[in-house]
Symmetry: none
Subunit: 269 residues, 2 copies
């Protein structure tokens, strides 16, 4: 796989290094480079890595940004300030798309500065672009590991080709990404359900109680369509309708309409 | 501005609560609710909040998820497992679009479970959708505050209209493409509806017809949550249930249970 390097310049807190490792591993990033870390290795880093020790173990410690980005093609530097008008500034999502595309050709790197001070102008020098993480206008003070997490997340989406809105494995946005075990109820099954429901509504006189011209059946159809019922779920509703009819008839009410539509309805049929 | 509640259920580590406050404030979110936090307030929370103490100071501590989401319309629950095929599952970006759109009408909430265990099935109950944060297939173990950071970032983008091509509110087919004119039924209203439905199911003996251990009520709850009923729609169903009960009683069947729950149910109330 293409290499995307996360470069932390002079990180002060070993806990942040561990949290960065965890953030990276969650998003399938493995290549961590530390430029003059204040304390590393450190138990606090390992504790916060929480299962991502492999990233820490393979982290490279170097003495300069130049060493960190040696062999890299595209280089991006994160900044919370838009201080240098001569750099191109991309937001996190655009930058992730560029980095992933460029990493197909040569290792790419993203630089993150020290917790309090960020990157110096000199440390920015090798970068092609600055990356800005969109944030609150008045309080923009992302923790280092949080900034890495957001960039790593955007890189993961870009890697998986998910920069469009649609999650992988679904044809319709917003529907379950879990494989469906029971087929959706067909439109015929849904029509039989609605016919059955209309029959019960008629029997219990629900239609008569309509106020102010609300199309009750139309409303119910809409929200049941939104629920995207599978076959079992449609059958559960048919079963409930049948139970309502049977108990009413047992109670001495004569059947009104044909019984045909309710014969085949039972839950989990 | 519209209210979007971040709800942490039984957070174990006060440091995470502080980091969540900081993550939120960076992304212009202010409403934090803690359900049975193990330790709060706590110096570690304040230390990690780092300038976002205002979010901690205004955090509400409550005893249950039910209290946490009281008054909310749209409710989403984060999960790392895709364990419940009957929920609609959205990825973080889609979910953020929905949440922002829905928060225009009523407060919206996003639930995050305890660090080690996540949300229980019972804690998921009031939710309309599950939210999945895309992550590595083999190592998906996001820290709680990191998960909040990613969701908060996506909410911030959605608020600023930076989600990309698709306009807010069109992510789920069949929902919210038209501006909502009626608020979503609250979780309390939905619970009253389920209680009323359980009563009718008992009266018509539907429970007895269960085969092979299917949890009928659980299945019905799931698909009605997916339907995302608004207040009128919930009232239409309540009205239908009342009509079923009244006709059965007129037919000579003695009432079984208390009548209290059906008194206020009429369509379009």
């Amino acid at each position: 796989m293409a290499e995307i390097r996360i470069v932390l310049v002079e990180p002060s807190h070993p806990g942040n290094i561990g949290a960065v490792a965890r953030a990276m591993m969650n998003m399938s990033l493995r290549s961590l480079v530390l430029v003059r870390p204040r304390q590393f290795p450190h138990p606090e880093a390992s504790a916060r890595a929480s299962g991502a020790e492999a990233v820490l173990a393979s982290a490279r410690v170097v003495g300069s940004v130049e060493e960190a980005v040696a062999g890299c093609g595209f280089i991006a530097a994160t900044t919370s300030r838009e201080r240098d008008q001569y750099f191109r500034v991309l937001d996190a999502r655009e930058a992730a798309g560029r980095i992933v595309a460029e990493s197909q050709h040569a290792p790419a790197a993203i630089l993150f500065g020290a917790e309090r001070t960020g990157l110096t102008n000199e440390e920015l020098e090798p970068s092609h672009v600055l990356v800005r993480i969109p944030a609150d206008g008045e309080y923009a003070s992302l923790n280092l590991a949080m900034a890495v997490q957001i960039i790593a997340y955007e890189l993961f989406l870009a890697q998986s080709g998910q920069t469009g809105e649609r999650p992988v494995g679904t044809e319709v946005p917003g529907t379950a990404t879990v494989p469906r075990t029971t087929p959706l109820a067909t439109s015929q099954e849904m029509e039989r359900l609605y016919a059955h429901l209309a029959e019960v509504m008629e029997e219990v006189g629900f239609r008569d109680r309509t106020q102010s011209g609300t199309n009750l059946m139309g409303r119910i159809r809409r929200f049941l369509q939104r629920a995207e019922l599978d076959e079992n779920e449609a059958n559960i509703l048919r079963g409930l309708l049948t139970a309502v009819q049977q108990r009413r008839r047992m109670a001495g009410q004569p059947p009104r309409d044909s019984d045909a539509s309710s014969g085949d309805a039972s839950p989990d049929a």
